[in-house]
Symmetry: C2
Subunit: 580 residues, 2 copies
């Protein structure tokens, strides 16, 4: 705790360098002349490394260079400073875990150390799609089967029996083990069958061993079958790369496609900042296309074309288009004909279509349905050779929300064998994704089917979660729309609402005074007043001059009323304070 505090103190000190956004932004500030001196004070390792710096020697206390300094014997080569880090890293921003989360963690520690030290009793994390962190129970079937693999490489172990007992224990309300004999009958035959099938699919039944670089072949067979069942079109297990969640797959594609800042990637704005971060880290150019808030975050081909042409004018080679469906942070679900237009646009312009489909199970609007871009392509008659398409899926989202397992896959189609070999090589450098995550990915794509013993229970859990999420989304949407100056599109899918707040000029000025974006200022004030954590819209991108925040719909249903009233009270007070 002490160490953490000391770290926090250092961080606060650092923060006092008038951090405007998260560290990416701060780094830029640090490089500016007027803060170099403070950098040096904070970082005795610092040595002149830029003309800027020299022009500022006068700012420095000479003592820093006295022979008694433990750094006076430092090498002539500059040690690592923010200025000597990879500038691509400095450019990268990731607001979802930015300043707001650091402040929230600090507040949580305060509450633990001194209960009552703040006007709220708990931190309500509405900032990130992390369902089980907020109390969502895992889907029994996935865990039941998933557990098995942890045991299977102990040769003498009989995981089936073990899981049966785990389940007994899960169901029973006291730990007495020996009384549970009579409950053995509770277990589903299909989960046991599935478990042994998976064990047979793992070479040597060794979950403790590295797998094939693309993931265990048998699990990829299962996922491919799941994709075929979903789309009604063939899927090839050798097109699948199993990953530790979807993020490493996105990074891998950016790494493969981006050659220099002259390569651009078309991304929706607002967007999940993994994309802007990954593009920055790999030295490419983010080519923004704006979603139309007025039409429920509509994706207009005319806007794509406009932005593509503008990028070309600047000498940018646009290599790929990112489509996030359902949308994050915007929650819209693309219409089938809109998807066809997007596919034709990519085909015509020779773009790789990077389809973020991690929320494919999260559909709440009765009038909307998820269609994978692969299904759309195939239904349009485009075969494997016609269009390069990458579909990302994750075990972290959906109704299961197994974020901590870090499982996912990408389905890679429309690339030549020798390009695919390069994908394979890059995947190989990290050996493989974690086996528990691989197994979970196979389960998510092959849940119990009608007629399976566990089907009803599974569907009950699944529908219970999805229906509850739909209710939470509606309640929060209505609450936001009832607030002065706030309008909020419905969440047709995904896990978020992205309300638009028309902030008074006074508030915007106050934010400027605090060196924060106006929505970041609002979010920090909200957090400090209520313990509710949301992510400022500026972290996702938005039409300049508009302000938003992203609020997840994941807090458990019994928490929603409290969140609504906290938000409502705070917003009223905030507007009373700043109304023009």
């Amino acid at each position: 705790m002490h160490a953490w505090r000391s770290w926090w103190l250092r961080f606060s000190e650092f923060e006092s360098l008038q951090m405007r956004k998260f560290v990416g932004e701060t780094a830029k500030t640090l490089i500016a002349n007027n803060t170099i001196a403070s950098v040096v004070k904070l970082n005795p390792h610092h040595r002149p490394s830029s003309p800027n710096y020299c022009s500022n020697r006068s700012h420095l206390p000479p003592s820093l260079y006295s022979p008694i300094s433990s750094y006076s014997i430092m090498a002539s080569t500059p040690p690592v400073t923010v200025e000597s880090l990879n500038p691509k890293v400095l450019k990268c921003e990731y607001a979802v875990r930015g300043e707001i989360v650091s402040v929230a963690e600090k507040l949580q520690e305060d509450l633990q150390a001194n209960p009552g030290s703040h006007p709220f009793e708990e931190i309500l994390y509405c900032n990130i799609g992390n369902p089980q962190h907020l109390g969502q129970k895992p889907i029994t079937f996935f865990r039941e089967v998933g557990m098995l693999q942890l045991h299977c490489d102990e040769k003498l172990l009989f995981p089936l029996m073990c899981v049966m007992l785990c389940q007994v224990l899960a169901l029973c309300d006291h730990p007495a083990l020996l009384d549970k004999r009579e409950t053995m009958g509770l277990f589903s035959v299909d989960s046991i069958k599935r478990a042994s099938l998976i064990l047979d699919q793992i070479p040597g039944r060794a979950t403790g061993a590295y797998s094939h670089s693309q993931g265990i072949k048998g699990l990829r067979d299962t996922i491919a079958a799941g994709i075929e069942a979903r789309d009604g079109f063939p899927a090839d297990p050798n097109d699948l790369f199993l990953t530790d969640g979807a993020s490493p797959g996105v990074h891998m594609m950016m790494q493969l496609l981006i050659r220099s800042e002259n390569d651009g990637i078309l991304c929706p704005i607002p967007q999940y900042p993994l994309y802007s971060a990954s593009i920055a880290l790999h030295g490419g150019t983010l080519v923004r296309y704006y979603l139309d808030e007025a039409t429920g975050w509509g994706l207009e081909i005319s806007e794509l074309k406009k932005q593509l042409d503008a990028a070309k004018q600047k000498g940018i080679t646009v290599r790929a288009l990112v489509a996030i469906n359902p949308g994050n942070p915007t929650g819209q679900v693309l219409a089938e004909d809109n998807q066809r237009q997007i596919v034709d646009f990519c085909k015509k312009e020779g773009l790789v279509l990077l389809a973020d489909e991690v929320y494919q199970e999260n559909i709440y609007a009765p009038d909307k349905k998820f269609h994978s871009f692969k299904k759309i392509c195939r239904s349009m008659g485009y075969g494997d050779k016609d269009i390069p398409l990458v579909s990302f899926q994750s075990v972290s989202k959906g109704y299961h929300g197994e974020c901590g397992k870090r499982g996912g896959y990408m389905e890679v189609t429309g690339f030549s064998p020798e390009v695919r070999q390069q994908f394979y090589k890059v995947a190989s450098v990290n050996l493989c994704s974690n086996i528990s995550g691989q197994i979970l990915a196979s389960l998510v794509m092959s849940p119990p089917k009608v007629g399976d013993e566990s089907y009803d229970g599974y569907m009950g859990e699944r529908d219970g979660i999805l229906k509850s999420l739909a209710r939470r989304a509606k309640t929060l949407e209505d609450a936001f729309n009832s607030l002065e100056g706030v309008s909020c599109n419905r969440a047709e899918g995904a896990m978020y609402l992205f309300p638009n707040i028309r902030l008074p000029n006074k508030a915007i000025k106050a934010a400027e005074g605090a060196k924060k974006a106006a929505d970041a200022y609002y979010a920090i004030r909200l957090l400090n007043a209520t313990g509710v954590v949301v992510v400022p819209g500026s972290g996702f991108g938005q039409v300049p001059g508009s302000w938003h925040f992203r609020c997840t719909i994941l807090p458990q249903e019994d928490k929603i009323p409290a969140i609504v009233s906290k938000l409502t009270d705070f917003h009223k007070k905030f507007m009373d304070e700043f109304r023009d």
Copy 2:
């Protein structure tokens, strides 16, 4: 199986483009004029994108550009081809999973499909440090406690009881569950205590939730305590970044340090190719320093200095030095005074010391001991501010070899708070490492202690594995040294032997004929004749004109005699065939 075969066929076709090394090399070959035509045949997506190409139009069948081609309506923007991929990716090589593994997989399929189709009955994988793939049993204590976390987020579940049963089942030799009541007493109190402690350390007991970007704080506390116990010097949990194995940590450091090809990283040669691959992927320059095979792969400071100066002469800014201790693929264990020299060298030259210490538990030479570079630095009086040091640890190695769990950490010291914030930001972009791996990393750094009920059993398993590995290493070392023209340093640690083979000129010429490195030719011949898979030395780097291969010591002890006799017979025949 069919899909796999078709993929394989495509790969073989591709391979027939006279692949000299793994795909990185191949990609370069593809770009060379004389293969462009074949590329285009393989990849109808191909469009002119390089001057090279234009200068070779004459090589191309005109039909490829006829209007009937399904690509004639393709965009003016070139689709993805090997030539339009990130050239850093093309440069990257990773032989450990290169051609040799692809051929081995093909042979294994043949053996399954047509037993007796080859002069051997099984593939003996001596190519990669993957113990459980070769039948090593997991350490009971780690699995026993590790299992718990899979259950703990089912609120009604009593994981302690569950694990007790898992263990009963692990020990019992038949699946009858209900007879096992009398064996309940077998469980260790400390593993149960540890399990509940870990559950309490996980916020909300949710192993299905994302954790702090650096890993769960309580687990980092445990790891820090383990490092303190190991070194006798303080460790700060906030210096720890938990990772999916060690590789992502290495990539992260390369990403942070490398700004351009003018930044260099000093790496040992021979080296584990993760380093050369990661440096290539991040666009830096590999600055080789050669280990001295004659003195048991000694690391000479004079060699470091020579290579550093040579790099500076070329305008390279050397940013870091990689030290792999114990060595991979070379198996040497650095002497304490040698480590002090290395630390002083880094201090004097202002280099980040990247210490690959994933084999810290794998010491076989009675006269050798592992010392962490952090301990060495602190014992020399260098504090946190004196030298930037990153130590990498993994759950994949050691005596536990939990490769499939993808757990590990890096301990990051000697960087300023604002630089650390950049590390944190980059870690945040991928959210967190998998929770099972995080828990396993904490267990590996805090095994049972004297007085714990499970201590004796744990030590029995641990010493059993390490002593057996030492015996296997010695047997293989002696076998290699008995071969004509082969000399092999002892494996003081790690999991590999790296014998030197003096190949006859005839063999070298034959290899040239097959467009392979001589040691790659030897390894492929060995594989095709015996099913034994080793990695050619050219994949790790070696003194030009010398030839080696890396052979793990991991096959189970009962397999070693067969491997020795297969190797011996093959080598005799090979030398008889090629002896000058």
